[in-house]
């Protein structure tokens, strides 16, 4: 049963429409998607808009974003009864209710001084009200980003939480046989568009992570056969090694302010956690155990760090203060745990769990309680959160046969509720995904 919360708020003195009408409770899993009618935006037969199919493209991007979230369905526009410009001013709500649309998106496009002007309105067809409206102006080729921003606005208006569609994913693109795998850094929009390789494949590269505030990536490169943590500026393409360490540095992540990199340093068979300030270049050692300490992740307030250690005999998840004090194991449910990642909302830690021959992606509270396993498979690991903390992406591998064939690797997404598992399409095999914050 659909449990849509529909409030009919009396319209008395409010001119500013900021209260909830249609609303989706996204903490509930596997609910029926909310049907939306997403219309093609009107324009004055502008030849450039027609040539570049901008109306159709915008509709497709918005529909696809919202549908992939699992929370919305986009009604086939062949079912639309009203399709005229007047609907952007005042839709015939009864027509839209007839085709079961609970929300309606209308819009207008214009090109003014070589810039694309996009105006949209979101209507609640039951309350018969405009509930969101905005004008966005951008360069013409930027229609795709505008579409993601509109999808984010709709998501935010209907769920009460920030959207995550105007984001990107950096990952490792993989090609070739398993024993001679070629790996490149690649970046794409969250929906797979604008795909671009960032490295040539000459060097082995692994585990890229976005800087939460700058157009920057940190990753591991085997340049000159010296595995070290590197920084890559996405805009300039400039790469630099991070620090001057006497051994392999790996498993890098940025601090929430983007100013530090936390990583593991392996020395004489022992891996500990270190943090380096990118401005002062000062390095601080955070853990000092004879065990493997790796896969660190900061809490969003920067005050705590979760990491993976086998100091107790098996791989488990630990939490400590950001200065290395108060190290405490939190995973307790049996099995091995790895790659803890703190949720951007602060309340949960996502992880990889290995238990009885199967790999799981799950979440637990930051004290280790409330463990929930979201997905089980032969091999999968390395969750990364959407900017709003509602969705996780990770990578999954298929088993090779005895001849070594049949192996593949791909990125998947799953909702925090454990529903809506989807494969993210990439041009070649994919692993080690990292999801950006909303693009600024």
């Amino acid at each position: 049963m659909r449990k849509l919360l529909l409030y009919l708020v009396p319209l008395i003195l409010f001119t500013n429409i900021s209260y909830a009408l249609i609303e989706i409770d996204i903490t509930e899993g596997n609910r029926e998607p909310l049907p939306l009618a997403i219309s093609e935006f009107f324009h004055d037969n502008n030849p450039e808009i027609i040539n570049k199919k901008i109306t159709e493209n915008i509709r497709t991007v918005i529909s696809d974003d919202l549908e992939r979230s699992g929370l919305f369905s986009s009604i086939d526009n062949k079912a639309f009864i009203q399709n005229n410009r007047a609907m952007h001013l005042k839709p015939r709500f009864a027509d839209w209710r007839l085709i079961k649309a609970q929300g309606l998106l209308t819009g207008e496009l214009a090109i003014e001084e070589d810039r694309l002007k996009v105006e949209f309105r979101l209507w609640d067809t039951f309350a018969e009200k405009e509930i969101e409206g905005l004008v966005l102006i951008t360069t013409i080729d930027n229609w795709r980003r505008i579409s993601h921003m509109i999808a984010d606005k709709i998501y935010e208006r209907l769920t009460g939480e920030e959207g995550y569609f105007d984001t990107r994913i950096v990952y490792v693109a993989e090609e070739g046989p398993k024993n001679k795998r070629i790996k490149k850094l690649a970046i794409m929009d969250q929906d797979g568009a604008n795909h671009k390789f960032l490295t040539s494949g000459k060097e082995l590269v692994l585990t890229p992570r976005f800087n939460p505030v700058r157009q920057e990536i940190t990753y591991l490169s085997y340049f000159k056969n010296l595995p070290r943590v590197y920084l890559l500026n996405i805009q300039t393409g400039i790469q630099e090694v991070v620090g001057d360490f006497p051994g392999m540095t790996f498993a890098p992540r940025f601090s929430p302010d983007g100013g530090k990199i936390i990583m593991s340093l392996a020395r004489e068979g022992n891996s500990d956690l270190y943090v380096m300030d990118l401005t002062t270049r000062v390095v601080e050692r955070l853990t000092d155990s004879p065990a493997i300490d790796t896969s660190p992740s900061y809490s969003p307030d920067g005050k705590r760090i979760t990491f993976n250690s086998d100091r107790g005999g098996s791989q488990q998840i630990y939490v400590m203060d950001s200065n290395g004090r108060n190290q405490k194991r939190i995973s307790k449910q049996g099995g091995n745990y790895a790659t803890p990642v703190w949720s951007p909302r602060g309340d949960l830690i996502a992880f990889t769990k290995f238990y009885q021959g199967q790999y799981f992606i799950g979440v637990m509270r930051t004290d280790g309680s409330g463990e929930r396993l979201l997905t089980e498979n032969w091999y999968q690991e390395a969750p990364s959160w959407s900017s709003n903390g509602r969705v996780l992406i990770f990578y999954r591998e298929t088993k090779a046969n005895d001849a070594g064939d049949g192996h593949s690797s791909s990125i998947w997404s799953i909702d925090l509720t454990g529903f809506n598992e989807r494969k993210i399409i990439t041009p070649v095999d994919a692993s080690d995904p990292s999801w950006s914050k909303l693009i600024q």
Partner: protein
């Protein structure tokens, strides 16, 4: 007909005996094909450590280039110590030779943890060579984690062959 039947029973007896020897494996569904693999497995993997020679290359005559480890372990087995002793002797006899020890893991573990595990394995081998009098200045280590399997399969034998450290001459 009779002789075929006799051959068949004799074959079956052999198969059953082989299965009995390979008691550590689960009972296979397809007797004919799994017999070979499980009996081979029983010989080639002991206590989770590969003891066969399929992937092993030679640094010199009777100096194997690699040692093998149990799952999630960097403990040197007796066989590994024997191999490293041969490597140490060879290094002493070839005083100018320098080497890199590559540490590797199988695919059943997270990427980052396996990088650390490969580093442990390479250093376990290096430490042993040092106790045999080899100067640390002649030995570098590098971990490839699970990135460079020697056997691309996803089975126990492949994983056992991939859990290794390999000594490579660098000059």
């Amino acid at each position: 007909m009779v002789s075929t039947f006799q051959n068949y029973t004799r074959y079956l007896v052999i198969v059953l005996f082989a299965l009995f020897l390979a008691a550590c494996e689960t009972v296979p569904k397809d007797t004919a094909t799994s017999t070979t693999s499980s009996s081979t497995t029983a010989v080639e993997i002991m206590d989770g450590v590969y003891v066969g020679s399929d992937t092993v290359e030679m640094l010199a005559v009777d100096v194997p280039d690699r040692i093998f480890f149990a799952y999630d372990s960097y403990t040197l087995t007796k066989a590994a110590q024997n191999t490293l002793e041969k490597q140490a002797k060879w290094l002493k006899a070839n005083g100018s030779a320098t080497i890199a020890i590559e540490g590797h893991a199988d695919e059943r573990g997270t990427r980052e943890y396996n990088l650390a595990l490969g580093d442990r394995r390479a250093n376990a081998a290096k430490d042993y060579l040092m106790t045999k009098g080899i100067s640390s200045s002649r030995v570098t280590t590098i971990s490839f984690g699970k990135e460079r399997p020697v056997n691309s399969g996803s089975n126990k034998k492949a994983w056992a062959q991939n859990r290794r450290s390999v000594t490579v001459r660098t000059n």
